[in-house]
Assembly symmetry: C2
Homo-oligomer: 363 residues x 2
C-alpha cells in the first residue's frame, strides 16, 4: 500500500514561519510612534494590531490551500469564497476584532471568465454573510507557475482582511483565561480549509484517481462532502462580544487542530482544558480517518473534527453565549472546562472510552 | 522563428477584472455607516478607501508575477522583497496614501528554509526603505499546485498593504488635473515587476533555455539585468506631498505601461499629456525590445521604459518636487505637460524622430 503523504512538513513549516516572523518583528520599529504603529499586547510583546490615528486595526492573511482541487474536480466554484472569507475573518475575530474589509489575490495559469465569475459571486455571497466589504482584489496570470487538476483554469486564492476593535471592547489575547471558565464549541459541518493534503492522499490511495466520484454518505460523493463550505463565525461571535459576554480566549481551529490552536490560547496562562463534550466528528470525518488509518491523536492535529471554533467564557456567561450563537444560526455547545494543568484532554467520540491528552507547552 | 507569447491575454484579463470588480462593488453596502465603510471619491463613485473610526485607510494587493523565475534562475532571492514592497506601497502612494503596514503570502511547492530566509531578509530591508512594518504573513505549502524553474523551492509571492491618509492631506484622484500642469517622471533602473511574461519569451527565443547566463551589458548577464530590484518611491513621494507641493495625479507605471496607468489618471478630466522629455529606456530595455522586434507602441504598453512613476504637479511646484525627490535619492525630471486633448504623446527616444500617440479614452 503506498505511503500516505500529507505533503506538509510540519517541523520545517514551523521553522520557516519562525524565520519569517523574526524578520517581520524587526520591521516594527519602522512605524514606532506614527500611523500604523504595531501595538504591544498585554504581555508586552508585539501583536499584529496597529494604531491608525486612534483606530485600532488588525490585518491577517490566509489562503485556502489545496481545497481548491475539490472545486476543480467537481466543477463547482461558487462555495470557495466562503472558505476564503472564513479563514481570514475568523482569524480576526479570534482576537476580538470585527472584520471590515477584505482584499483577495487570485493567481491563475490562464483565465476562464466563467470560473472567475463563479469565484467572485461566491466571495460576494460570503461577504454578505461576513458583513464585510471586498475593497481590493488582484488577478495575476502566471502561466505554468500555477497548476492543478483537470483541463480547466487552475488557481491559488488568498486574501487579507482588516478588522477593527470597537472602542467599547478590548483585544482578546488569552491573558484572562482562568480555571473553571467554560469552553463553548461551535460546530463545523466540514473540514473548512485545512488538512486537505492528507485528505487527498487518503482518498487517492483508497479510491484511485477519480475518488471524488465515489459515494460517501447521504447520497453525497466524497468530492461533495469534502467541498462542504466553511461557516463564517465572525458576525455571530461579534454579537456575543457586543452583548457583553465575558470571553477570555477564542481558538479558530485551523492548521494544527485543537491541540495547536487552543494550545496557543492556553499557553499564555499555563492553563489546560478538559473537553468531554465536543461536537463529534461527522460520520464522513470518521470515515476519512478510518480509510487512512489515522489515529485519533493525529486526526485532531490535522482536522477540526467537527469543532471549528472554541470560545473560552466565564462560567456565568456560557449559556448566554451558546444561546446568542444559536440565535445567529450557529450550533454551539458547552464542551468543557478550563483546568489548571497544562493539558488539553479530549474525550474521543463516540465510544468515549478513550481520552486523548495533548500537552499545551508542546502544542 | 517560434511565436512570441506574453502568456497574458490583456482583453480577457480586463474582462475578468471587471467581473471581479462588479461583484466586489456590490459588497460595499455591507459596511455602510460602520467601521470599514468604503468612501466615495470626488466623482461620487466608490473608491477603495475606507473610514475606520475617523481614520481614512486604503488597502491594496499585488504580487510580483513571473519575475520570480529570475530569482530561481540566478539563485538570488534577497532582492524580490523590494519588488513586492514597491508594487503595493507605490500603488497606495499613487492615491496619496502613506503606506504603514504590509502582510505577505508566500505560496510554495515544498519549503526551503534558506530561500525563505533570503526572501524575508529582503522584505525586511525593503520595509526599512519603505518605512513600513510587516505585520502579517502566511506561508502555504501547496505541493504541485506551484511550479517554477529549476530544482529548488518554487513559489509565488503576493502582499497586501494598508495606507493612511494624514489629516492634513486629501486623496489624490486626478480630479484636479488641468492643462499646463507638469509631469515629473521618476526613473526606474529596471522593469520592476511587470511585463516579464513577454520578456522571458523574448529571451528564450533569442538565447535558448539558459538565456539568463548570456552577457547583456556592463559585465552583467541578462538574468542580472532583468532581476534589477524595484526602487520604492513611496517615502520620497510622501515627502513631496508633506512639503505642500500641489500634486494633482500620480501614475504608478505597472501593467499596461504609461498609456494605461497615466491614461487612468487623465481620464477623469479628459486631459492629455505631451511627454517629450521622459527618461530614455535603459540600453538593456532597448535591446530586449529589439531582440523581440517589439514596436515602441507595444514596448510602452508592456514595460515602464525607464519611468516608474509620473507625478502631475502644478507648474510652479515642479522644480521643488524634482529637487525633493532628488534629495531623497530618486532621479526625477520634468518630462512634459498636461494638455487639453485626450492624447498621450510620447517622443520615442533616442532619435526623437518618432512620436507615439495613445488615446486616453481607450487606454
Amino acid at each position: 500500500m503506498p505511503e500516505l503523504r500529507s505533503g506538509v512538513d510540519i517541523e520545517k513549516n514551523s521553522r520557516c514561519s519562525a524565520i519569517a516572523h523574526d524578520w517581520a518583528r524587526r520591521t516594527f520599529a519602522n512605524r514606532q510612534g506614527i500611523a500604523g504603529a504595531p501595538l504591544m499586547n498585554t504581555t508586552g510583546s508585539f501583536s499584529n494590531y496597529m494604531d491608525y490615528d486612534g483606530a485600532i486595526i488588525a490585518m491577517t492573511s490566509d489562503g485556502i490551500g489545496s481545497k481548491i482541487e475539490l472545486a476543480e474536480r467537481l466543477g463547482c466554484y461558487t462555495t470557495l469564497g466562503f472558505d476564503l472569507m472564513a479563514m481570514v475573518t475568523d482569524d480576526l475575530v479570534a482576537n476580538g476584532f470585527e472584520p471590515g474589509n477584505v482584499s483577495n489575490i487570485l493567481d491563475v495559469d490562464t483565465l476562464d471568465a466563467a470560473i472567475v465569475d463563479d469565484l467572485m459571486r461566491g466571495l460576494f455571497e460570503a461577504a454578505a454573510a461576513a458583513v464585510v466589504a471586498v475593497t481590493g482584489g488582484e488577478i495575476a496570470e502566471l502561466g505554468d507557475r500555477v497548476r492543478g487538476w483537470g483541463p480547466r483554469m487552475h488557481f491559488n486564492w488568498c486574501a487579507t482582511a482588516i478588522g477593527f476593535m470597537p472602542r467599547t471592547r478590548q483585544p482578546i489575547e488569552g491573558g484572562l483565561v482562568r480555571p473553571g471558565q467554560h469552553l463553548v464549541a461551535i460546530e463545523s459541518p466540514g473540514f473548512r480549509s485545512n488538512g486537505f493534503s492528507l485528505l487527498r492522499s487518503i482518498m487517492a490511495r483508497s479510491f484511485g484517481p477519480q475518488w471524488h466520484e465515489v459515494a460517501c454518505d447521504g447520497g453525497r460523493t466524497w468530492g461533495e462532502a469534502l467541498l462542504t463550505p466553511s461557516l463564517i463565525y465572525a458576525p455571530a461571535v461579534c454579537k456575543v462580544l457586543d452583548a457583553g459576554c465575558r470571553v477570555t480566549g477564542i481558538a479558530h481551529i485551523t492548521g494544527g487542530g485543537i491541540p495547536d490552536k487552543l494550545g496557543r490560547v492556553l499557553r499564555r496562562t499555563g492553563c489546560g482544558a478538559r473537553l468531554p463534550d465536543l461536537f463529534e466528528p461527522l460520520p464522513f470525518m470518521y470515515a476519512a480517518a478510518r480509510l487512512g488509518e489515522i489515529p485519533p491523536e493525529t486526526a485532531y492535529r490535522q482536522w477540526n473534527q467537527g469543532n471549528g471554533m472554541l470560545m473560552l467564557v466565564e462560567a456565568d456567561d456560557a449559556a448566554a453565549c451558546i444561546a446568542l450563537l444559536g440565535a445567529n444560526g450557529l450550533r454551539a455547545r458547552d464542551a468543557g472546562l478550563v483546568t489548571d494543568d497544562a493539558l488539553i484532554t479530549i474525550t474521543a467520540q463516540p465510544d468515549r472510552r478513550e481520552n486523548l491528552a495533548f500537552a499545551v507547552g508542546q502544542a
